[in-house]
Symmetry: C2
Subunit: 306 residues, 2 copies
């Protein structure tokens, strides 16, 4: 789980600068002037067209970074699509289709089989894509498009002081699954290999939440981001967070890839689906207060994508 | 310009089969059951939503394959977006936005600068994307979304016997630009580095064409594909095709990357923009007849993406 640092390599060869991810994204944000892009601070873009609000998201996965070398490509295809659908779930959107960017390589037959499974399971049409040959670590991409089922479309930035903070299910299951797969222990690894986008939950929740996102990079880091985007402080009781392994609670709160939904509601609201209340939104400049301890710096809270 | 062969490697290592591109795409087509996907035979998906027809396309570019190693990343960013916008142009669509899949590396500052240029030039919003770190050859992706300006939305499959065949401009300019860049001759390489999507032309043509596509893989190969998709035969007079180098006419007809629009119209129609008539659609089983010579096999006609 490498962490982003904000630094720049010297331009020693005339080919231009390398940038760290945070810096690159900051540069992109300066281009994303349309409200639809939500300043690239959200899980997905929301594009108003006619009477519809379209939700668009693109995710990239790299061999050896987002999946284990030699992993079954059917699982990789499943996850590639599921991760994008999870972004739609966080917006309460129904999927309209996906486009796939594929690099040819070993296990393409399994990739197609896994793609078929995930598309059939979530009833999502394959709309198109592009296929290239490549050498070295393979890169795969998925763009998902959906239609919002409720207005306003939930964002990360709507949490208000007094709101309750909720999560739809346990964290850490993907961590245990990853370890089972990596170490070939024979234990169930499906939570890591085949995550379930919470599409039905997202749709049910959209009318009642003040903010919502999917937990892809760890509960604490994503909570920190939601609080920052909302300009509020999240007070979270770690003991109230459902975890897959009570003995490893701290790790469960920091590991990513579970794709549960994190959301806030007015204090009097009862979520229409099973969920766990884990804290309360307060006003304040420190985004995260964990068991009474203020956390101003997100370093160490979770997984930052590289 | 490597060519696809239909063959399969043996599954010798338990990781599943490698597939050739043609075979992989055939397997994907079996999944693309929605009419919106147009069977993956078209430049883009067309999705009806409310009163709108959305046009969606995804393109992938790989370092060393789609651009020269060490090439200015501003030009790479331009081309990445321009190629996707060209697919929208072929549908007569107005761009609504793009999402970018980016692998961090050398020249990211230039990439951002080139991205800004192409987005400002064509007034296209950046809606989102994803950034990853990667090793080895970098892979970039772009998804473009647009709204159709005319119904029915032009496709590759509408050409009818008797129609005239047209192209919007000269072929082979990208070939000359590529050679100038590769050999550092100092000659103008912009046609290769900074292709222009024919968005205005596509919009003007959409109401009058029976079929339309952009010429990305070479005029003859793309003509062969359009004729095949339409179930007709294209009779093309090679001498009528505008080329960037008369001495190298054959190569100009086979080289890709020019992004002119190829289209068919009823014989009595006059295109509303400057264009060159290059042939006539006939009935017949052989997709392409070049200067009277029937060409049944597309091998050797142009560039097949790998």
């Amino acid at each position: 789980m490498p962490r982003s640092r904000v630094s720049t390599s010297l331009d020693t060869n005339g080919r231009g600068l390398r940038m760290e991810e945070a810096q690159f994204i900051a540069a992109l944000r300066a281009l994303a002037f349309e409200p639809a892009a939500r300043g690239l601070f959200d899980d997905a873009a929301v594009l108003e067209i006619g009477d519809e609000a379209l939700v668009l998201t693109h995710d990239t996965m790299v061999e050896g970074r987002h999946w284990l070398e030699g992993q079954n490509m059917a699982d990789v295809a499943w996850k590639l699509v599921a991760v994008s659908l999870s972004d739609l779930a966080a917006k309460g959107a129904e999927p309209l289709g996906v486009l796939i960017g594929h690099t040819l390589g070993e296990g393409d037959d399994r990739f197609v089989a896994g793609l078929r499974e995930v598309l059939e399971t979530y009833r999502v049409p394959l709309l198109g894509g592009d296929t290239v040959a490549g050498d070295g670590a393979r890169t795969l991409g998925c763009t998902a498009i959906g239609r919002a089922t409720h207005r306003p479309v939930p964002s990360r930035s709507g949490a208000r002081p007094g709101d309750a903070i909720w999560v739809t299910g346990p964290l850490g299951a993907a961590m245990l699954g990853f370890e089972a797969l990596r170490d070939a222990t024979g234990a169930d690894s499906s939570a890591y290999r085949r995550p379930s986008p919470r599409l039905a939950q997202g749709k049910s929740l959209a009318p009642v939440v003040t903010a919502m996102m999917d937990v892809s990079d760890g509960l604490l880091l994503d909570a920190w981001r939601m609080a920052s985007a909302s300009g509020v402080s999240f007070a979270i009781d770690s003991g109230a967070v459902p975890v897959a392994s009570a003995k490893r609670r701290d790790e469960c709160l920091r590991w990513g890839d579970d794709y549960e939904l994190l959301f806030t509601c007015p204090p009097e609201a009862t979520p229409p689906i099973p969920a766990h209340r884990i804290g309360t939104v307060a006003s304040g400049a420190v985004p995260l207060v964990l068991d009474g301890l203020a956390i101003a710096d997100p370093a160490g809270l979770g997984y930052e994508h590289r």
